[in-house]
């Protein structure tokens, strides 16, 4: 029972970060029909941002979020405005292949600049795990979890309460109708891509103290990220949250009760199953 509670908790903690990466991918898909294969590289850039912030400027990795999230937001908008926008009329497969090229370009530029060495971030605090109710929780992961919840909550408020948020949801539901209602769809798309990139980058910053950093880490993350958004239904934000938590828990329980070597495989099998039998996601909210 204690093992169960322990692995459930660590699954939920990791799952919240998966969810955050997944939300970025899913809002971009919802608004622009782009499956962004370079999303994992955006996470990787966030991780390296936290690393360089700490090693060059003695910046606390978690505080560097305040710097990197806006930088990634602007960077994402520029990528959309100057690179991706002209590809969209070519169709979904063209944008998929274009972002595949972008992904390879970013990952290999990073490999070239920073080499393939594995790096870690050492925090001056939180060496000892906290133990509420006898469950051991790593401090960096706990901080990341709380911040991820706060960001997701803020995003939720933004999407449901503000005009721009409503415009994003409207465009996601029906682009033509939104256009007819006077929504500046192009501006919405630019902002959404910036938002998706910022979410990926922020998740990267938060994950950096808990994971190994290397330039091709994006490959692993992007595949997990697809699992998350497909589980929840492509285009659905609540779906991505549920999918992220589900994947985190399934992996963590699978590692304990099925096989630790095949824990990643469980996610992929689940992914194929959902793609084949419930293409709109487990909760039937996607499209």
């Amino acid at each position: 029972m204690e093992t169960f509670a322990q692995s459930l908790t660590s699954g939920l903690l990791t799952g919240a970060l998966y969810a955050m990466i997944g939300i970025g991918l899913t809002v971009v898909f919802g608004v622009m029909r782009i499956i962004n294969l370079a999303h994992g590289e955006m996470v990787m850039l966030g991780m390296f941002g936290a690393f360089w912030g700490q090693s060059l400027w003695k910046l606390d990795p978690f505080l560097s979020l305040l710097l990197w999230a806006p930088v990634m937001f602007v960077g994402g908008m520029l990528v959309y405005r100057f690179l991706l926008r002209k590809i969209i009329p070519g169709g979904e497969l063209n944008t998929l292949l274009y972002t595949a090229g972008l992904s390879l370009l970013i990952a290999n530029l990073a490999l070239f600049a920073w080499t393939g060495d594995y790096r870690t971030i050492n925090l001056s605090y939180g060496q000892e795990p906290v133990r509420p109710f006898g469950i051991s929780i790593a401090v960096p992961l706990a901080i990341a979890f709380v911040v991820a919840l706060a960001i997701t909550g803020a995003l939720w408020l933004f999407l449901s309460r503000t005009d721009l948020g409503r415009a994003i949801r409207a465009t996601s539901q029906n682009r033509e109708a939104a256009l007819l209602m006077g929504v500046d769809v192009e501006r919405v798309a630019t902002v959404t891509f910036g938002l998706g990139t910022a979410l990926a980058g922020a998740a990267g910053v938060l994950l950096a103290p808990s994971l190994y950093l290397y330039p091709t880490v994006g490959e692993l993350l992007i595949v997990k990220c697809f699992v998350v958004v497909v589980l929840g239904g492509l285009g659905s934000v609540p779906g991505a949250i549920a999918g992220g938590l589900l994947l985190g828990v399934v992996e963590s329980l699978g590692a304990v009760y099925v096989s630790s070597t095949y824990k990643d495989g469980i996610g992929f099998v689940l992914f194929l199953g959902v793609l084949l039998y419930r293409p709109s996601g487990l909760f039937g909210v996607g499209k």
């Binding site: 595949a100 090229g101 530029l109 070239f112 990643d264 992929f268 793609l275």
Partner: protein, 325 residues
Amino acid sequence: MTRRLAPWVAGVVALAALPAIVPNSFYLHVAIMILMWTLLGSAWNLLGGFAGQVSFGHAALFGIGAYVTMILFLKAGLAPWWGIPLGGLAAALVSLPIGLVCFRLRGPYFSLATLAVAEIVKLVALNWETVTNGSVGFLITTFPPVRFFGLAVDWESKLPFYALAALLALGGLAATAWLQTSRLGAYLIAIRENEEAAEAVGIDTVRAKVLTFALSAFLAGLGGGFYAAYFRYVDPDAVLNINLSMEMVFIAMVGGLGTVAGPLVGAVFLTTVGESVRERFQVGHLIFYGLFMMLAIRYMPEGIWGRARRLLAALRARVLGHVAA
């Protein structure tokens, strides 16, 4: 007929002459890589270019070919010229269930499913240690003396590999040329342009796609088998890497989708750039793959060969027009 055969004859002559011209073994290595990637680009192009089914999972088929060739050689002593075709066959066999499952999905969803399948195959290779040796993989230290039609093969020279690669690349191009004129090829183009319409006129789209996938897998498996024999080294990171799938996609796409010569042009262009960068900097040779892919989609979606062919046709029309006038 002579006009159709002429480029093939010229190609074979050029391939036969090349080893005599190249100044050192690095250039021969580049030539071998170009030929291997021509085969792999052609393999992907059958499915991606003609049928419009973008697979991100071809690394799995390549890897299966590589592992089968390697294991047959090390454990059964079977020489690579038996192992390579058997590796291709194994990849084709494995492609059948993958195809039957993944082809239920369309467009980008098919691509994502193949990506997941490739990751599953990689996980199996990493963890099924009794067969695959896990993350350690296999290494051939010395080739036993082998005779090929009575001739002793010199494994230390690159020449036998060059000959084998040339044969395989020609095979890939020939398979594409055959598909282009076959009934199956016509079905595939119909599927690519409009799958519902293709189904409505009575094409068994699933059958056509699965057959093409098997042919494509066979060629990718041959490429993997060749890789195993040439580099004498196989491990999950080397032969089941997702980047291999991407390189196949990029070579076919930059060269020209759905054409016979496209993968050859793409391989000549990208592999030359890639191997030169790899020779000079060790890492990051894929920077240019990504960059050229983005440029191609933006400015030249028909690929280098597609664009060149169109320009040639326009030129010919103008010249002929002048003659007629």
